[in-house]
Symmetry: C2
Subunit: 339 residues, 2 copies
């Protein structure tokens, strides 16, 4: 695809945003549509209004974008051309497609397979039910076709299927914020909230591509010596509601050394006054940068919690508001580890 042909303007099309070259043909005012920072996400969408809503929210939540193309009903270039382009774009770490239909099935399957072999490709398909499919016909004129055929083709090509926009956000975050592929699927939970640890363990146990790790006896013995007697040295590792950043540091360090896990999922509920969030952020970021295991966090709360989470994310630690969202993203990350 030639670069100068990228502006495929037609109905349902918002325009193009390219953070590398500063091309911005969105034609919407910045007080209504925040522009995201530069980053690793490239997004292709067949719906203009969906594009503007996604960009505005993603910018607010600190997602970084390489390219955003809202191509509507694709007058001159189609989703396969765009996929090929983004697959070889060095700025693009992860690709997401919102599509209602594809223009050439064979061409798409080939392009999607090529792209997915190089980087994660997430797809949200509009019109997977009869009612939705009827609506695509009057929107982009796409013949949405049988859901099974589409979903089957996506799986065959190795795409990551999202069933809602929230899943899109969850998956984009984990692939943009961490470059790391876990070596296995064993997750160790560290938490300062007992209930959160339990809910998270429930979610992991039900996730297809994840399982609960087991602390090695040596790690358990080491932590038992240092932690208060009522701390729960297991998985979840409960550092208790009165945990300080130092107790977290001990826990994270010990679990990173432990060979019995591949991924750390750290619940950090910042409501307790004993927790110095500045120090906790600095220490956790330092661990994440030295570590070969992905560290993902769950942080719930109001604005100060969100600021803490953004700080971690800017340095490679994806943060999620709720256990289910973190586990869903980890599940997709783990599923790709053998690819």
């Amino acid at each position: 695809m030639k670069r100068n042909r990228i502006a495929a303007i037609g109905p349902n099309c918002l325009g193009v945003l390219d953070t590398t070259t500063n091309i911005d043909t969105l034609f919407l005012p910045p007080d209504r549509l925040l522009r995201p920072k530069r980053g690793g996400i490239s997004f292709i969408s067949q719906s203009g209004a969906l594009s503007s809503a996604v960009l505005d929210l993603a910018a607010q939540e600190g997602y970084g974008f390489a390219k955003f193309v809202s191509y509507g009903n694709a007058m001159n270039i189609d989703e396969s051309d765009l996929l090929d382009h983004l697959a070889s774009d060095p700025e693009t770490k992860v690709i997401c497609l919102y599509i209602e239909g594809v223009h050439d099935g064979k061409k798409f399957l080939a392009a999607a397979t090529r792209a997915a072999a190089k980087k994660p490709v997430i797809v949200l398909k509009g019109g997977i039910t009869e009612a939705g499919s009827k609506a695509t016909l009057s929107h982009t004129g796409s013949l949405a076709g049988a859901a099974e055929v589409y979903l089957g083709a996506f799986r065959q090509a190795g795409l990551i299927i999202a069933y809602d926009l929230e899943e899109v956000f969850d998956y984009l975050k984990i692939f943009e914020k961490t470059a790391m592929k876990p070596r296995g699927n064993r997750v160790q939970i560290i938490t300062n909230g007992g209930g959160y640890g339990i809910i998270t363990a429930d979610e992991i146990s039900q996730a297809r591509h994840l399982r609960m790790a087991t602390l090695s006896p040596a790690t358990a013995a080491f932590l038992k010596k240092l932690f208060p007697p009522i701390a729960v040295i297991s998985n979840p590792l409960d550092v208790l509601g009165d945990a300080t950043e130092d107790r977290y540091q001990l826990a994270i360090e010990a679990c990173l050394k432990d060979k019995g896990n591949d991924i750390l999922l750290v619940v950090m509920l910042p409501q307790t006054p004993l927790l110095n969030l500045d120090k906790l952020a600095m220490q956790t970021i330092e661990f994440a940068q030295r570590s070969k295991k992905p560290i993902v966090a769950i942080v719930t709360g109001s604005e100060f919690a969100t600021r803490f989470a953004r700080r971690l994310e800017d340095r490679g630690i994806p943060c999620y508001e709720f256990p289910a969202r973190a586990v869903r993203a980890l599940n997709v990350l783990a599923a790709r580890r053998t690819r």
Copy 2:
């Protein structure tokens, strides 16, 4: 239950918040844990840290609370006592429980059945898997027991089961913000985003207790005369990306009059500059206050979008960030309509 016995302090217990009497025994600073405004939600939790995270986030997102009791391992009163109390509390519109175990099965089943007959009762059960259940034992000392037994009992009592905290937030919102029970389960979508309409239609078609409404021929003919020729007069009703607040007003008014639907789900993507959000909010609130059908909104975007959503919510229109969350909440609302 005597009021003066409500302070059941023990491990894993945060304390009590009662917005009616201004009792606040949370012992956490307000800059770390925002206090929510007065409202219709009462929450019982067996986990202290979970309680503080929930309260902090809920306060930020505009949820209103009547009572919040974090009762830990329940030294003197248990969840059934609390349920009985809240069932007859006139300030409480909706009850939510986070529990890891119950102390007396028969007593709980009776109390839960009584409470659920009076108002919606949402339950999130920690420890529904083996790993989660093992963790409850060292947390509250609850014998979490077989998930099937618990979930079966919850269903028998008529409780609304949530499987994650995000679901808890979604369900609490719809029951707190709207008092209305829909007369049926037929949902009409109005949208200014084609893709959003399609995704929402897909979600509704897959929701157990909902189905897509059909616009009556009279409504369709009426709107066809007034709308631009490329507007899609169907379900979804696509008022197009250049919709003004007046076009929304026409659409909402016509759909409220239409006897072919029971619920309006209105997607309002506020990124386009033509949409006057002040007027749109005022008009939609006016409709909602006169209407006998629930109106629920989907609003995605950055801060100005959130402010718009809060304004609608304060006047009885629950707003959700993503289609799946709105539809999940509506599904639960519709399931209760015949009770």
